[in-house]
């Protein structure tokens, strides 16, 4: 396997950037949507395969400005996988959107190009060995998603994009300042120049940095990248962006972009944790996490737009994950990693389902969607399974991670477990409340011609994975996650 990899003209890790980059340029030239969709799928697939190779072959961090360690390979593999499945979904979805004339064919090139550009920037952000580069990548990702959110050019879409844009830019600015501060902190130790921004050297010397600078830096980084993660009170862009953008983008946003920002946050958390004098980042993350969890849980109750509903649920789960990493410790970190993985899979699956629901019912209003299990059994049931999973019902994977999180928290900090449990219950109540209305009861009228039913394959694959993870986690995966959990400290 590895020998086979050596025969390639470039290292697999570079391929993570080369393939999407080339594909982006290529797709920008392909006006036909079928061909474009195929190329899009193909490119994403290849990227995913290369990402898989990273599991066996790690490049040497010193030679490249990219690097791979146990931590980001989790994100890369997960991200490229979701990117791949989403591209499959988007192929059929966008096709239907064009058929019903919601999306103008002229935008196809733009859409596909942006899709690959997005995956490019996210891979870059995940593998960059330079905090400046990472920042640039995240900004790029933001720009591309902003453009995709505004794709439909409706008032709502433009306005959502605008809001996302402004808030995102401010977040980016804050993150940049934080990055500068990190450099300032590193320079006296490492010396001027490029090295002082290289991740591997940073983490190696973190203990000698000036703690005060690190503290201030972390404040900015947390608010900056936290805006991307969608933690309350920095979340405002997230629901509208999810609700108004094309559904594949909603899936990518929830399944990937949030993770990328979270990854950046984790990196800097590790940096601070490596410095004994710096303020412990844990409590900050825990606080933001709890706030997001409970806030989002309450917000779920009065949602009327189904995509916005699940967007808020994403905020809730990001809060949970932030909480887990904030708690720290092998068990909580493990739970956080597992939860992040499960959430990406489940939430993107849910958005696949919701997108089709919105197409067959011709609306995103929860009130107008009823009795799905009657009118569209497969779709309805997979939505039920997805929501059951996201709500944390056994035997799905999210239940496992929540179980670990709750029980470990309760064993360590009973007082923190109480708001955690309350938040979980609130969210559960809201989600099930909505689900019973949408999935059961007398069906509401469907759009006459729902067109070619989009492929259920990605949806089912995701849910199957979540279910399997809930029932059985393979030993190597567990060992690997535990290793990462130790890294995170």
């Amino acid at each position: 396997m590895s020998s086979l990899l050596h025969m390639l003209p470039f290292a697999p890790i570079d391929a993570l950037l080369v393939v999407p980059g080339v594909a982006a340029l290529l797709l920008a030239l392909i006006p036909q949507y079928r061909l474009g969709a195929r190329v899009n799928m193909l490119a994403s697939g290849i990227t995913f395969l290369f990402a898989l190779t990273l599991l066996v072959e790690r490049p040497d961090p010193t030679v490249s400005f990219l690097f791979v360690d146990d931590l980001n390979v989790v994100f890369v593999v997960l991200g490229t996988f979701v990117g791949f499945t989403t591209s499959i979904f988007s192929a059929s979805y966008i096709g239907h959107e064009i058929e019903i004339g919601r999306l103008k064919p002229g935008y196809i090139r733009f859409y596909h190009g942006m899709y690959q550009a997005l995956s490019f920037s996210m891979n870059l952000g995940l593998t960059a060995n330079n905090i400046g580069l990472m920042w640039v990548a995240v900004e790029l990702a933001t720009l591309t998603t902003v453009l995709m959110v505004g794709l439909y050019r409706t008032q709502a879409a433009l306005e959502a994009a605008w809001k996302y844009f402004i808030l995102g830019s401010v977040g980016i600015a804050l993150a940049l300042f934080g990055t500068i501060l990190i450099y300032m902190a590193a320079r006296p130790v490492i010396g001027e120049g490029h090295d002082a921004m290289v991740w591997t050297t940073l983490i190696a010397n973190a203990s000698k940095f000036s703690p005060e600078l690190l503290n201030v830096a972390f404040v900015f980084l947390m608010l900056g990248y936290g805006t991307k993660v969608g933690l309350a009170p920095l979340h405002a862009w997230l629901p509208d962006a999810h609700a108004e953008g094309p559904t594949p983008i909603s899936a990518v946003l929830s399944g990937l972009l949030l993770n990328v920002a979270l990854y950046a946050l984790l990196r800097f958390k590790m940096l601070l944790a490596a410095n004994p004098l710096a303020v412990a980042p844990g409590p900050l993350l825990v606080t933001l996490g709890l706030v997001s969890l409970i806030f989002a849980a309450f917000m779920l109750y009065l949602r009327r737009d189904i995509k916005r509903l699940f967007a808020y649920s994403s905020i809730e789960h990001m809060g949970l994950i932030a909480f887990a990493f904030g708690m720290g410790g092998p068990l909580a970190n493990f739970a956080g990693l597992l939860h992040m993985t499960m959430h990406s899979l489940t939430k993107s699956a849910i958005f696949f389902a919701v997108g089709q629901v919105a197409q067959v019912k011709g609306t995103q209003k929860i009130a107008d969607i009823r009795g799905l299990t009657e009118s569209h059994p497969t779709l309805g049931w997979s939505l039920v399974v997805g929501v059951a999973a996201i709500a944390g019902l056994p035997p799905m994977g999210i239940f496992t991670s929540e179980f670990l999180l709750v029980s470990s928290t309760f064993a360590r900090q009973p007082l923190l477990a109480i708001p955690l449990v309350i938040g979980l219950l609130l969210a559960f109540g809201a989600l099930i409340w909505r689900l019973t209305g949408v999935a059961f009861g007398t069906p509401s009228p469907s759009v006459v011609d729902a067109g070619r039913p989009p492929s259920m394959v990605p949806l089912i694959i995701h849910l199957a994975l979540v279910l399997i993870a809930g029932l059985y986690l393979p030993g190597p995966l567990v060992a690997w996650f535990q290793n990462v959990a130790r890294m995170l400290g």
């Binding site: 605008w162 402004i166 830019s169 600015a173 940049l176 450099y183 006296p188 001027e192 000036s210 005060e212």
Partner: protein
């Protein structure tokens, strides 16, 4: 010489803070644009000075970008747009000027308190610059949140970004500064274009963000 260079840098950075205050005080949009141009000019001067002091020629590029793009092109463009949009009426600032100024002063004090001890090890220039840059950034944010008109918000954002560039250039030997400033200029360009888009597509008769939100409020 060392002493002088330090003072000069300090002076320029302080000048930026001063200009930020002027922007904060400014409540006519056209005036705001002019003051912003001045802001950019001071920035480019400061960046140039840093380039000279640190003998880092590539910083001159940044200075040039700041001067050309932010001091000339964008203000002019926005000027035109304001006239076309006919929003050159008074900016309805949220909460009077007085409180805003007070808040600004508080922010400057805060940034001093935060940065000076924090950057103790960093060399003096950097320390002063950082503290002042932070205050510029905070003031920029303050402008953004105390203005209701989208254009003035953009201006606020750009002044914030000026602060970032100031900080970046102040960080001696920081790599990617040029790239970052370029990236940011792209960002700003996008924002401006975005406003143009809104205008050209006749979506909104005003780009008062209050009105923007009315759409979704009606819908959700």
């Amino acid at each position: 010489m060392e002493r002088f260079s330090l003072d000069a840098a300090h002076l320029l950075a302080g000048g930026m803070v001063l200009v930020s205050f002027m922007m904060l005080y400014q409540n006519r949009i056209l005036g705001l644009l002019n003051v912003f141009a001045a802001h950019a000019v001071v920035l480019s001067l400061s960046v140039a000075w840093q380039a000279y002091v640190q003998s880092a020629p590539h910083l001159f590029v940044t200075a040039a970008i700041a001067l050309i793009l932010k001091a000339i092109i964008i203000p002019v463009a926005l000027h035109h747009m304001v006239l076309r949009l006919g929003v050159h009426r008074d900016i309805e600032t949220v909460g009077g000027i007085g409180p805003t100024m007070l808040m600004g002063i508080g922010l400057v004090a805060l940034s001093m308190v935060v940065m000076l001890p924090a950057a103790a090890e960093a060399d003096p220039i950097a320390r002063e610059d950082l503290a002042l840059a932070l205050s510029v950034i905070l003031l920029g944010l303050l402008i953004m949140v105390t203005r209701q008109n989208a254009i003035s918000q953009i201006v606020g954002f750009m002044s914030l970004e000026n602060g970032l560039v100031l900080a970046a250039t102040g960080a001696r030997g920081m790599p990617l500064v040029v790239e970052i400033s370029v990236a940011f200029s792209v960002l700003v360009a996008f924002i401006v274009i975005g406003v143009f888009l809104f205008r050209i597509r006749e979506r909104f008769d005003t780009i008062d963000t209050q009105a923007l939100d009315d759409f979704r409020e009606g819908r959700e």
